[in-house]
Symmetry: C2
Subunit: 336 residues, 2 copies
Amino acid sequence: MQKSQVTIKQIAQELGVSISTVSRALQNHPRIGLRTKEQVFAVAKKLNYVPNPAAILLKKNRTSTIGVVLPQLAEEFFSQAITGIEDVISEKGYNVVISQSRDSLERENRAIKSFISSRVDGVIASISAETTQYYQFRELENYGVPIVFFDRVPKDVRVNKVRGNIVEAAYESIAFLEARGVRRIAILNGPASLEICDERLMGYWNALKQLGLPVVQQYIKSTDLSREDTSKKIDELLAMEEPPEAVLCFNDYVALYAMQQCKQRGIVPNKDILFVSFANLPITAYLDNPPLASVEQFAYQMGEKAAQLLLQIIDAPDDSVLEPQDIVIDTKLVVH
Amino acid sequence: MQKSQVTIKQIAQELGVSISTVSRALQNHPRIGLRTKEQVFAVAKKLNYVPNPAAILLKKNRTSTIGVVLPQLAEEFFSQAITGIEDVISEKGYNVVISQSRDSLERENRAIKSFISSRVDGVIASISAETTQYYQFRELENYGVPIVFFDRVPKDVRVNKVRGNIVEAAYESIAFLEARGVRRIAILNGPASLEICDERLMGYWNALKQLGLPVVQQYIKSTDLSREDTSKKIDELLAMEEPPEAVLCFNDYVALYAMQQCKQRGIVPNKDILFVSFANLPITAYLDNPPLASVEQFAYQMGEKAAQLLLQIIDAPDDSVLEPQDIVIDTKLVVH
DNA sequence: CTGTTAGCGCTTTCAC
DNA sequence: GTGAAAGCGCTAACAG
């Protein structure tokens, strides 16, 4: 059944030339006769020749594949980002292998290991909620594999990253609430290991101070993104003597969990307590009572940018020392 | 920066043995000294040896990767299925490359082409809404690449497939509605090229007849799954002199589109007109007014089964002629 | 049990 | 312009 693979050798035989000639013709080598080239292409087509990537790889030591690790595809933010990555990368003839960490450090590590053994040319990553140190990614660096982080970028290290302008987005969200007369605003943030959480907090702080809103320490909560923990934290907020009038959430999922918990407690979300969040996921369009507003983070574009940056690094001459780049993408508060 | 790759040759030198000995040791070849083997492993570890997959591949002519084409990862059904596939496949040391057709025939073809040139060992597919013929997949067969379809399987061809028991699920859904006293039931089906649509229709028909419900030709509609077309078709149903009391939808997305359209027309879904659908997506848990009931299709398990079947075919001896398998997974109607 | 040898399919000097 | 030949890292007969 297995159609025996056509090789350049067979093409060479068919034409009575050497395999080097065929190889050169196929690569559009400059020093080759136009006639020969055309003939080679003709025969290659006739025989249905498909180059064997393994052989090329073995020779060139490049796999033309890049690895992507991200928390989970089921989150629309990430599946949109992947689409952006794929569109850029496949246009350049690269392949993508995707691995989901499902917010587990161990799975993330396994993915990195497998990227190393499959010799990917580069990695794009959005770190798991459990990832607190950069250590594991160093391993990739040791093998000379370039990495670009997006959205969930690690803290305190100089790395290539593509991220939304979260500080500003958080500020804007608070300003939006303040304009509606809200004063007591809480934040339900994500794991402290993520830089985007610091930024969210910073934007929140700045806004509170500049707009003269009350800064209450207990209004600042963070969740590990699970439904349980999120429910617990919103409960704590609701149980306060003076509960917040609004909550800025890490993302739409956190907002939805929190809102459901409110309902359970007989509190009407976006009426008794307002919700604003991040991500602006398409699924919110199906909701009768979505978060009041959500920050659009342009996942697709973020994926595109990350892929472009990575390819740029891969294609850079070996001796060039590149400064890690930090690309910031503008966000937009979308009022529902 | 690029750490020069460690090869078995270096391990051999370090130990003063031949490379074949190293190769055999690493593969746990039976005829090798325990002592030597241990030493080889020790040095391999010390040197941080990682086998070069390209070389192995070139030799063995197997890539240890399988390709997956499916409509879109953003649909939870598919991202769940992928997770099932990944879990099975990665346990056996295989890699997965994923390609989204986004319901476009052209993209699906491109994916297949790329699978051929990257020499995947097998393919798992869920066909696009535009795919009406099996033709393109024949190409894979020509190259001896085994294929397993899941959920969206092609019609009229003998192929390996894993699918839900849609006929029965559709029957059950109608019975559920009938039990609630509903008599006029419409169906908003998917593209006729999909076998699962035929099955849905068959279950619907059987149920109507056996339960003595009216069979109305205009109650049978199909959509190309887009929001626009779905809105149009539900509008047609609503505009009838005697509109249906309930609608059985292709999946949750179609149901949600249809329900939103109803709202636009001032008709309250699940009160004025009932909705039952397929997929039972987690997102429906966030809805205040989800479809009345939805058929759980166990996407994760479907992915697992498809992967297991594919691996089984790949591992089968070349001379064994396998009958195409048709694995049916039981579904379950979940009332919300 | 271990070493020698011949390739897998392709690229790439080095000659002519 | 084209051919001969070496070799990428590894496996698998074939000999000991």
